[in-house]
């Protein structure tokens, strides 16, 4: 009897351990909402959307328009995906269908190492390497802009997209490939017309997760995009993303002011956006695993 009680206690202990994860996720959401809530007393959601700029330190009336930073985040994210999606899927197809086993042995760690580079190091390279390169190519005076951020975010999203797309391609049953080859298609036609379409939902999930990473990434965009508080004009102009806004302003803001609460509103928006992107990735991923 004693033994059974002990077993129950141990099982209960690990159960609590498992539940904690849910507690943390819910806790993050609750804390964000609680700290964001007071902001809605001072600033209406309509104003947040209507105001054309984010200027909490304005001399007369501070404005908290979230559109410029939403737009900025969207720009750098789409810019990064424009590079990372084709290159990532290409590299994944190479690893899964073209590379010899020996090349794979070398190439796969490259992807892992790329994933391990701290984002602050990439941000630093954005300043010292990518920025000057952009200046040289465009003849501009300042290389810290949306293009710079997009390039760095592409580097950050690539490992996710490559390794998950490769998994998706690898899980396509061999019979598909063999059937295609037996019908007289060559390897290239098989990869393009059979394997990639068959793995499409898995690849889509990989791209969604890469996108989630790009949206939430802070240090690279903070260091490389110039952070101008105006409405983003072009890819060659400076932008200030949602993550960068929090990173810059939370350090200077007085606690428990409207500005402080508004930063939690931005955090809440980020949390909700990435939550739904991850959820969507999950759905596509399940669709993929169920299909194969």
């Amino acid at each position: 009897m004693n033994r059974r009680i002990k077993e129950k206690i141990i099982e209960g202990f690990f159960f609590l351990n498992g539940i904690i994860v849910i507690g943390i996720l819910v806790g993050i959401f609750v804390i964000l909402v609680r700290n964001a809530w007071p902001a809605f007393h001072d600033v209406s959601i309509g104003d947040m959307i209507r105001w054309p700029n984010w200027n909490p330190d304005a001399y007369t009336t501070p404005t908290y328009g979230v559109l410029p930073m939403l737009m900025s985040t969207l720009m750098v994210t789409l810019g990064s995906l424009a590079v990372a999606v084709p290159v990532g899927i290409g590299a994944a197809a190479y690893l899964s269908d073209v590379a010899s086993p020996r090349v794979r042995e070398i190439a796969k760690p490259v992807v892992e190492i790329l994933a391990g580079i701290p984002s602050v190091v990439l941000g630093f390279l954005g300043i010292v390497l990518v920025g000057p390169m952009i200046c040289k190519l465009t003849g501009r005076y300042n290389g810290l802009n949306a293009v710079n951020g997009s390039i760095l975010l592409a580097v950050m999203a690539l490992p996710t997209i490559i390794s998950l797309s490769e998994d998706a391609l690898g899980s396509v049953p061999r019979s598909y490939e063999e059937a295609s080859l037996a019908l007289g298609a060559n390897k290239w036609q098989t990869v393009i017309n059979v394997k990639i379409p068959a793995a499409a939902s898995g690849i889509l999930a990989a791209c969604m997760l890469g996108m989630g990473r790009a949206i939430g990434e802070t240090m690279t965009v903070l260091m490389a995009t110039g952070n101008a508080a105006e409405f983003p004009g072009s890819f060659l102009g400076p932008v200030k993303t949602m993550t960068a806004t929090i990173a810059i302003e939370l350090g200077e803001v007085a606690y428990h002011t409207t500005h402080y609460y508004m930063l939690f509103v931005v955090g809440l928006m980020l949390f909700i956006i990435t939550f739904f992107i991850n959820l969507a990735a999950d759905v596509f991923f399940h669709k993929h695993t169920r299909a194969h």
């Binding site: 690990f14 490259v110 190091v121 390279l125 060559n186 989630g212 990173a247 350090g251």
Partner: protein, 289 residues
């Protein structure tokens, strides 16, 4: 279409795929080449053992190295036991029901939460509500929570490699569930779990956003002397030296040196994990394949 042109298209297509991979390799080469060639010059014994001097234009990065080590250890002390416990629940005890699926969904979502949001969470929970203040403890806890999903996933992978027969053998001999886990599962899974833990921790060591407001300091001449003191950290120091310093061009070599030390630290941890895994595979302890 003629067979000849089909072959040309195939060749071109494969070249394009190869180019994609080469591009990825090139990125890595450029990153390492730039950091190593420009950072190696400043690395010296003094650089590694002295605090920053003369308004951070001279001297070394010793407090930042120590700060990063401390905060990473705190993160590990929080994330590793919690992650292992959660993995044991999921792999050994949990039934396949709604709650378990919810836990798994929570883990996947936590791994997608932006690091700056963990920073906000850390400010509201550890700095404010728990009254840790901006301290190495608050920052370590924030980083620990951030690494939790990685540690859980890695620990569960390690548990999965232990064959079912090990558990069933113990149970058949009359052992309780916990006795079978403790005696027949954990001894084989713990090394793999630790490998995953090191990988998770190495990520914590390089993170900046979660510690920006929870305890990292611009400049401190001494190493932290209590859990409640602020600290310097390598990633934050790199951020400061490359964007916030009053004479950015002058301190560029220090920034490069800091970047080099940071990636060496992160990849030493990674390498240690990989070598541990390799060593264990060779000894036949890991049962993966």
């Amino acid at each position: 279409m003629k067979a000849g042109s089909l072959r040309v298209i195939e060749w071109l297509g494969f070249m394009a795929l190869r180019a994609c991979m080469c591009f990825v390799v090139l990125i890595l080469v450029v990153v390492f080449y730039d950091i190593i060639t420009k950072g190696i010059g400043i690395i010296s014994w003094e650089f590694l053992t002295q605090p920053p001097l003369d308004g951070m234009t001279k001297g070394g990065i010793f407090p930042a190295i120590i700060g990063t080590l401390f905060v990473t250890i705190i993160a590990g002390l929080l994330a590793v036991p919690l992650g292992m416990g959660c993995a044991i629940h999921l792999n050994e005890y949990a039934r396949d029901n709604g709650l378990t699926r919810f836990i798994r969904m929570a883990i996947r979502n936590l791994s997608g939460v932006p690091s700056i949001v963990y920073g906000l969470f850390g400010v509201a929970l550890f700095v404010e509500a728990a009254h840790f203040g901006t301290s190495i403890l608050a920052a370590g806890c924030t980083l620990g929570l951030m690494t939790l999903p990685v540690t859980i996933t890695a620990s569960e992978e390690a548990l999965k490699t232990v064959p079912r027969a090990y558990r069933e053998g113990a149970l058949a001999l009359g052992a309780t569930k916990w006795q079978s886990i403790w005696g027949n599962v954990l001894p084989y899974a713990v090394p793999g779990m630790l490998t995953g833990a090191i990988l998770g921790i190495s990520r914590a060591a390089g993170e900046t956003a979660p510690i920006l407001f929870t305890g990292a300091a611009f400049f401190l001449p001494d190493i932290p002397n209590s859990l409640f003191s602020q600290f310097m950290a390598l990633p934050y120091h790199l951020y400061i030296m490359s964007t916030q310093h009053h004479n950015i061009v002058l301190v560029r070599p220090i920034a490069y040196g800091t970047a080099l030390v940071l990636i060496v630290l992160v990849f030493t941890l990674n390498l240690a994990a990989v070598m541990l895994r390799y060593h264990l595979r060779k000894k036949g302890i890991a049962h993966g394949q």
